[in-house]
Symmetry: D2
Subunit: 323 residues, 4 copies
């Protein structure tokens, strides 16, 4: 890097640190609607789902995350989803695009597509094939952020990527002007509180699991990237608002429904895939989208499906009653 570029970069860093855009609220990790071949994008489904979310009051939409089956989709399908989602959102809410990949070239390419389509930011979990050390991870993220036009969210997902983005690594990466936040799906609340303490301002801290969004908001977190908001966006937005206004009667009532979804919809199968299969089955049961799911997974069998549909219809009535 020559001296002029260095100065320019330093200047950009200084100003950027003062102006990092903050995001907050409920930003659902959108499921990816698929046709019955379990591979092709259901474009009508995308339009319907985006409308369902925005009319439910969500503060943003995150596509191509773990819930979005990003890594199971072909690149062509990922690109198509980016374009269709941004078109459907049409600037009404910010769209966040997952660019997680093991190849940095492919991540950067997806980020370019996202930028052209009008996305607000990109989100990247660590490269997930090789085991990395923290120093290697730090360098990887710093280099990635340098090569992106859109701002970057870190995405901590240790069960899937085999690596925890350690607290010290997040703190170091938060110095980068283009790294503006973290989505944490570890469910480790000590980790989250430590980041809240060490990164007091100017860095958006979002939590993945909906079961703990309320408490995270009460303690100062920025928002929730909650899968269940695909089903009932209004419920999660209402819970977020109740937590912001510290209305404990309301929190209790809404949290109870969130936990009903968690314990009755996400735990029907016998593997780690229960969450994804349950969520897509429930979306299908409510008539929102088809429940097709990409390999390596398959949809529930008849018996499990019947059980999920019965549960979600009961919960739907309760949600309607409470909202």
């Amino acid at each position: 890097m020559n001296y002029f570029l260095f100065l320019l970069k330093t200047f950009k860093t200084m100003t950027a640190q003062q102006t990092k855009k903050a995001f907050h609220g409920i930003i659902p990790p959108m499921v990816t609607p698929l046709l019955s071949d379990n591979l092709s994008l259901d474009i009508d489904g995308v339009k319907y789902l985006v409308e369902h979310l925005i009319s439910g009051g969500v503060h943003g939409i995150f596509i191509l995350g773990t819930t979005g089956e990003s890594t199971s989709l072909s690149y062509k399908t990922r690109e198509q989803l980016i374009e269709e989602s941004c078109k459907a959102a049409n600037g009404r809410v910010p769209v966040f695009v997952g660019i997680t990949d093991t190849s940095i070239e492919e991540s950067i390419h997806l980020a370019l597509i996202a930028e052209k389509a009008g996305a607000a930011a990109v989100v990247a979990a660590p490269p997930y094939y090789y085991g990395l050390g923290q120093e290697e991870l730090y360098k990887y993220y710093w280099s990635l952020a340098n090569q992106l036009a859109l701002p970057l969210f870190l995405y901590n997902m240790p069960t899937h990527t085999k690596i925890n983005i350690e607290i010290k690594t997040v703190v170091r990466l938060a110095e980068h002007p283009n790294i503006i936040g973290l989505k944490d799906s570890s469910a480790n609340a000590v980790y989250f509180q430590s980041l809240c303490h060490l990164l007091k301002t100017n860095f958006s801290l979002l939590v993945g699991p909906e079961e703990i969004t309320a408490e995270i908001i009460l303690m100062g977190g920025s928002g929730g990237v909650n899968g269940g908001a695909n089903l009932f966006p209004k419920l999660y937005v209402a819970l977020y608002n109740a937590a912001i206004s510290r209305d404990f009667v309301r929190i209790k009532e809404l949290q109870n429904l969130v936990m009903e979804i968690s314990t009755k919809i996400y735990t029907v199968g016998s593997y780690g895939s229960s969450y994804l299969k349950g969520l897509k089955a429930a979306l299908s049961g409510l008539g929102i989208i088809q429940g097709n799911i990409a390999p390596p997974f398959t949809t529930f069998d008849e018996k499990e499906m019947v059980r999920v549909v019965a549960s979600i219809k009961e919960i739907e009535i309760e949600v309607a009653r409470v909202l």
Copy 2:
């Protein structure tokens, strides 16, 4: 089991379920004061520490947990600690005794000592050498509870025991009249919320990590088994009270100090032992007890010690200012 015993047991179960004693509040996992041979109990230290905790307003004392280095102590020392602690507490607060062991006979023996000494309950993490299946774990705990006179707390500590007491297993075990609660040190807040939802009443849910005690209490948990309360019992009791009364100004102020302890005292070393070494070093720095630590660990070296002592003295001033 013959029919008469079956009837008797059923009757006891029914009545017990209606009368399970609830525990709540701050119940510090007491460190074990050791003499300079790093093996023998410092009896004066035990007396002083118990007094320090009780005068700090704690709701109970938990000895022989992970923070208490239970598994590093000889059986003779464990027995001595049970007797000295109960004598020092002298009924002013309930004493909980860790009986975690890989040999069920030794667990039952420790529970007998605890009962004789006047303890209120015993606490057992899963046997931690062999890898168990959940069904095996369930049978183990049920059988253990059957053989104990004192009520039993489950203790979830997956990083140390290699097994998570799964949600379904806890729910099944909560049916036992003699199993009255769970201490969860997993830091997994989704796990904790799920238990709060599924075990709404009559089962005490305590959380280990102090960093998340406030949010757990806000969401309906019973209390915190927080290591830092060895240092500043009043601070943790105040945070518990603030959370109970939903005083968010106070919560923020106190939580900030708890996080200072967490990020400056518990993370100085380079291994998982940092927490324990940091805590004992800080206790020594404040003059509460000697900082000796049992093998397989060793105390910090000079440089780390200086750093911890400097930090804890700064924090002490802040704590005094706020309380």
Copy 3:
């Protein structure tokens, strides 16, 4: 599937099971030569390296494995490598192509490129983002094999994919007419012996780690997919031959050199990446290819590089003396 297709399939299965092609010997997992941008294929390097391997007497070449940094390369680069490697090999030895991916569509696409280029077989590790159950894994592989024209090797790599292809799953999958073997990189010799016992014929069992190739061959395994053969193909071929002919004087002499490479070249760095970084540094030190390495990794720094180069030059002299 209609009845005619069922009959056809059954017929194909029966004949295929009698005729599964067996592979044996040393089949190096070829490193991917990269230009100094750490991303673009070094085509001259590919040609040189393929020639180096074939002239060293290897029995096949495996591209796009873990050693080949497959997951770090863009799809365009992977396709280019398939074409250039097959062209360079020009039918002199069979080429095996890694198609491991999280998206089944992309795996199938790579397999098509491989087929057109004249590859002998494809190799797939489990999809490595989501955690799978064994039943899910079984269905995934069966479905994948159904959609491939080339025969398929399973690739067990649990440290990277988070899942072990369990013994029972391998045995079930070996029933598929198009699944002809397994490459095991687990280093778990009990696993390997169990498969040798249960799959006595008609299934090629290759081992990844070169440190145990000799013993695996002695006990009846098919061959070794050994990274060090990129450096000294003749050494590993000679060790294979010595093991086949049970020449223990020769085995001892050659095994000693293989272990020198293992302990002096692969363990210089501080992370799991040490193997890959060490291997590429040594190849560069011997002037075989440039040592560039794709993100998320970086090449060794000067000091580590000097150490590796010094070691490999000493070993080179020993290898020349012995062969």
Copy 4:
């Protein structure tokens, strides 16, 4: 340590390194015969089993290992087993005593009992509750070895202790005059080959899993600590001798039977406990000892028991035919 002691120690170190006693051959990890309360030692069973092993030609007996359910037994029972086993062996073969514990005081106490009873050496896996760093582990073992009169074997058992004794740590510990060998139960053959290469002389390297004893012996290892030798000691001794004499016809024949035991007896249950349950069930089926097993495990149910007994009786006939 004063200067005289330092000199003495140095002198002892020098001479000891030249004279470390080597052990080799089949050294079964003896199961612990229990009475029907699943807790008390079956003293007649101990006598019978020791006789069974010695008459089978074993080179030593290892009590209180993982197969011996050491951690599940009370200290009283462990002591009793040490005394009864040594008395029964009566100096005919060396007895190795497991002293693995989380409390160093208890380990040292068991070693004293072992010494008095006439044991040849003690064996210790890492303390297995807290997670340790390698430096902590190194210091622990060095300090333990300093305090023992009997020579010490390291015992690598990462699945149970959560820590791998890393290669570098073993190499450093092998410098201690009182640390004379390692038993490796990791099944990781790369690890074992690396140790064979780096510790060429004067250090006994024993392997746990019987499935790989033959190959380990072929490659220069010292012996096998094989659970199946409780059933058929002669079979494992014969396999060891065949490997020593490189009689591959014999190796193949015997290895086949060892693998039959492995795949039909050790894999009947659904948990990690299958090995232990299967082994004790088979011993009971052959009438060698009762099959009682200590908590946290339980014996197989009827159906699994019938299956194991049928298999072991078939294998018994084959073993008789071959030997």
